[in-house]
């Protein structure tokens, strides 16, 4: 998870765009992903977002998420097969060749289709979100959200949440190591995760809250809530913005056509 939700400095076209353009693109992609029930359409959207990332010179950073997404999809597929019986029976999870228990748990076309839709939808949404986060400095994001009428206090909450995810991940790892060094062995699997909760999450939350005082004072002393941002520092709209705007309009048109059709 170390790679998600973080800005990465790259000299690419997405990095040169105004945050508002990227937010509009993100919204359209997310809406289309939710509305679409066609695996080919969703696959096309994954490809489109990935190509955008390649054009922005951070395709590799997006690919870093793929192993986790594939793991998730595999689990989703298995569970859907186990719980959903819909459409044509394509085969059995326990092959018929196995005596006694063979021929049970049918794999249906409906289950495969539904699992594929959910997985690909998540791929599209996470990729599109990454596209924006990797290429947008948080202070530009805050300014853009303010333009969209999100009050500065809530923009700051979002900014702090995004900023502290990697720090808290590192902190969580340190705490885990400290408890392991005390011979703490919660075991593996779900039971282990539950047992692990108290010795890890309590210090994590307590330490994080310990930072809140200083963080709050820093916000005040730097005048972040007044946000009298210097004019002229906003990223101006340029050619990359217009290109993405055209793409957004095309996608929107395709979406409307899809709904009406």
């Amino acid at each position: 998870m170390a790679e998600i939700l973080q800005y990465i400095r790259i000299d690419g076209m997405f990095h040169r765009m105004n945050a508002l353009t990227k937010i509009c693109f993100l919204m359209v992609v997310i809406v289309l992903a939710i509305l679409s029930t066609s695996p080919p359409v969703l696959a096309g959207m994954i490809l489109l977002v990935f190509l955008c990332a390649v054009a922005g010179r951070f395709g590799r950073d997006l690919l870093a998420q793929v192993p986790m997404l594939i793991f998730l999809s595999a689990g989703l597929l298995l569970l859907t097969v186990l719980t959903m019986q819909s459409g044509e029976v394509l085969g059995y999870l326990i092959p018929t060749a196995i005596p006694v228990i063979g021929g049970h748990i049918a794999i249906t076309s409906g289950a495969l289709n539904f699992a594929a839709i959910l997985s690909m939808r998540f791929f599209v949404m996470l990729f599109a979100f990454q596209l924006m986060i990797i290429s947008t400095q948080p202070r530009d994001l805050v300014t853009a959200l303010q333009r969209l009428r999100l009050p500065v206090d809530y923009s700051l909450m979002l900014l702090i949440a995004i900023r502290f995810i990697p720090s808290l991940q590192l902190e969580g790892k340190r705490i885990q190591e400290a408890q392991r060094a005390r011979a703490f062995n919660p075991g593996t699997g779900l039971k282990g995760r539950v047992k692990e909760l108290t010795p890890i999450i309590i210090p994590l939350v307590s330490n994080a809250l310990g930072k809140a005082n200083v963080l709050g004072l820093t916000i005040d002393l730097r005048g972040l809530r007044t946000m009298e941002r210097t004019p002229g520092l906003d990223r101006p709209f340029g050619m990359p913005d217009y290109v993405l705007a055209v793409l957004t309009v095309v996608l929107l048109g395709a979406g409307v056509a899809m709904i009406l059709g």
Binding site: I4, S119, I165, E171, V214
Partner: protein, 677 residues
């Protein structure tokens, strides 16, 4: 809403996002959302008004939706604000009547959020916007199928919120309160335009924390002229930080508590400033926790944040950014992420962001406490230039000697009172640095060793990705040795000691610990032989009493309860914490928490005790106390290994000093009249 409340919500939502992301491995269309538990906790802790509650819900909804693989993620935009409102209302209604109010509020909020999510999803499915999950989909069957998930999530979230509420509320009690109930009144004339007025004028100033009965500052009468560099000296808990918070106007504007007397900052009554943002135009503060002061995701952005919210012109912002990066030697780091920086680098960024605002005064509260020698020197070099530029500087520092060259004046605080106020010249004329231990240091390899070694490391190599951290380290350590491993940040000290208890495995080479192959042995088994105390004691403390905290490690290695009780009494006596069995660990001072962390490990009776920077952030008295405990442990036969950057501590106490640089041991010397030789 106070800024601290915004920080609390942001941080808790970050933790919720991490947990939520981890929950994605649960492969269902509707999954448990721990973000609800965390935003409910935030609401319970800060008690926002209706508008802010909805705001918190919207932000939680954005985060939930963006990392969700649920059937219709945008439903979070509706379900989370509703859940937040229910939590706020129910907690307000029950908090004075039932002890489990956090549980009830979170449980109800999760149910409302969950069923709202389902309701919205059903509406969009029924209206044909998204596909139904399967051909046989019916609303009734869908609700029946997902209800158990929501119920289980509600139970889990209620437990999480309740479990976290108790330590969280205790932690927050240590600091400021959310609401401001003090009656503010301006008591002095505004003389801010008169450049001859002092930077600070304290007149009979006293302050008592909301939870305290004894004043943390008593009758402070002090004038600090503009352009002066003042060193604030005193033991841990003397009131130095409270003094800094007072000077920065924080006590009067952000904290509850009782204030007496007056304070003028640059000729203006502290109450005459609108808020902390207004004071922030004149006074900048750098705290000891560098990480908490870095809000943005690159160094450049961080420094810009101090510049671009001041209404400056665009060109001026750009010029001052470059000046500031050059001034603080950060030009090469300008695009780095804060979490990837070393402690010294983070502190320089925090300093640069503060200086960027162009304030006339800067206050540093133990800003170099956790830094190594080189990093401390770089901060002091910056302060020297600031002093030459005529800035007023107030520095709290545990190691006064390092500031001898730049301080004009030294004030000493004891029990909240200023007991000495003298020129730096007079202070340092009588100030004595502690003498290093006597004895000659000789090459360890030239000494003949007897007995069975406890640790044998042979050509150990460790690489992080492609970066080598250890390059063929070899060493042997015997029982009863008190070994210090020193070196600058990144020299490989911590990487080396983490191999001794299996937290890291070698890329190549061998490690034998008490006869076990540490490269393959389980961490839990190694922990019985080699205990590790981390730099920050708060990394391991999680129980609500000292007794339970100590029992945790012993229970993990199967020590029976009667033996455990005996050991607890014995070890607490040894570390000077007798009679503190029922105390909340996190309410103890930093030095006491460090001693408790050591006690927790010592109670497990490991042959080897490893400590990462055990004296960091402690005053000299507390640091010496820790070192005497370690010395006694080594004399009792334990092998004690400490990683440290504090050369004066090492010179006074260590029997053997191993110096590391870029992943190799550059010297290994032993004191000839030490305990072992």
């Amino acid at each position: 809403m106070k800024s601290r409340d915004i920080a609390i919500v942001g941080i808790l939502l970050a933790i919720g996002a991490i947990l939520r992301y981890l929950m994605n491995v649960v492969p269902t269309a509707i999954v448990s959302n721990p973000i609800i538990a965390l935003y409910c906790l935030a609401i319970i802790l800060i008690r926002p008004n209706v508008r802010d509650t909805i705001g918190i819900g919207i932000v939680a909804g954005i985060i939930s939706a963006l990392i969700s693989h649920s059937i219709f993620p945008p439903a979070n935009f509706i379900s989370e604000p509703l859940g937040a409102l229910v939590c706020m209302a129910l907690y307000a209604a029950t908090r004075n009547h039932i002890p489990l109010a956090p549980t009830v509020a979170t449980f109800a909020a999760t149910l409302v959020s969950g069923f709202t999510f389902i309701g919205v999803s059903i509406v969009v499915i029924a209206s044909g916007f998204i596909s139904a999950p399967g051909e046989g989909f019916t609303v009734g069957a869908f609700i029946v199928a997902v209800s158990p998930v929501i119920l289980l999530t509600a139970i889990a979230n209620a437990v999480i919120a309740q479990v976290l509420y108790i330590p969280s509320s205790k932690i927050l009690m240590r600091g400021a309160k959310g609401e401001d109930t003090q009656v503010r009144r301006k008591t002095m004339e505004d003389e801010s335009n008169d450049l001859h007025t002092p930077a600070f004028r304290f007149s009979g100033f006293s302050y008592t924390y909301p939870q305290g009965t004894i004043p943390a500052l008593t009758d402070v009468n002090l004038i600090i002229p503009r352009g002066e560099c003042v060193l604030v000296n005193g033991t841990t808990g003397a009131g130095k930080t409270t003094f800094c918070l007072a000077a920065a106007g924080v006590l009067c504007h952000e904290y509850e508590g009782k204030t007496e007397g007056t304070l003028a900052i640059f000729g203006r009554d502290v109450q005459g400033y609108e808020d902390m943002g207004d004071i922030g135009r004149t006074v900048g503060v750098v705290f000891d926790d560098a990480d908490a002061q870095l809000i943005f995701t690159t160094v450049e952005e961080e420094v810009l944040s101090g510049l671009e919210n001041r209404g400056l012109k665009s060109e001026e912002v750009k010029t001052r950014l470059e000046e500031m990066l050059t001034f603080t030697n950060l030009t090469e780091l300008r695009y780095r992420e804060p979490h990837s920086l070393s402690g010294g680098q983070k502190q320089r960024v925090a300093l640069a962001a503060t200086l960027a605002s162009g304030t006339d005064c800067i206050i540093l509260d133990e800003a170099t406490a956790e830094l190594d020698t080189a990093a401390t020197e770089s901060i002091i070099a910056i302060l020297t230039r600031l002093r030459e530029a005529g800035k007023t500087i107030i520095v709290v520092e545990q190691k006064p000697r390092e500031l001898a060259a730049i301080a004009d004046r030294v004030i000493t605080i004891e029990h909240g009172r200023i007991t000495k106020d003298e020129t730096a010249e007079a202070f340092f004329a009588t100030y004595k640095d502690e003498e290093p231990a006597s004895g000659k240091m000789v090459d360890t390899t030239s000494l003949s060793q007897t007995g069975e070694p406890r640790i044998v490391v042979d050509t150990l190599v460790h690489t992080y990705g492609t970066n080598p951290a250890l390059r063929g380290v070899s060493l042997t350590i015997y029982p009863g040795e008190l070994v210090a491993i020193i070196g600058e940040n990144g020299s490989g000290k911590t990487t080396l000691v983490k191999h001794l208890n299996g937290l890291l495995r070698p890329t190549s080479g061998t490690i034998t610990v008490c006869g076990m192959n540490a490269a393959e042995e389980r961490v839990t088994r190694l922990a019985e032989k080699a205990g590790l105390v981390f730099q920050n004691p708060d990394t391991m403390l999680f129980e609500d009493t000292v007794e339970k905290e100590m029992q945790f490690g012993m229970r993990n290695i199967g020590v029976d309860s009667i033996t455990a009780q005996e050991r607890i009494s014995e070890v607490l006596e040894r570390v000077g914490l007798s009679g503190r069995l029922t105390q909340f660990p996190r309410a103890m001072s930093r030095g006491e928490r460090q001693r408790l962390a050591i006690a927790c490990v010592v109670a497990m009776k490991p042959d080897i005790i490893i400590l990462d920077e055990p004296t960091t952030g402690l005053d000299p008295g507390e640091a010496n106390r820790i070192m005497h405990i370690l010395k006694a442990l080594s004399e009792a036969g334990h092998t004690v290994i400490m990683v440290s950057h504090d050369m004066s501590i090492v010179a006074r106490h260590a029997q053997r000093i191993i110096h590391m640089d870029t992943g190799t041991i550059t010297s290994d010397k032993t004191r000839t009249n030490g305990g072992r030789v």
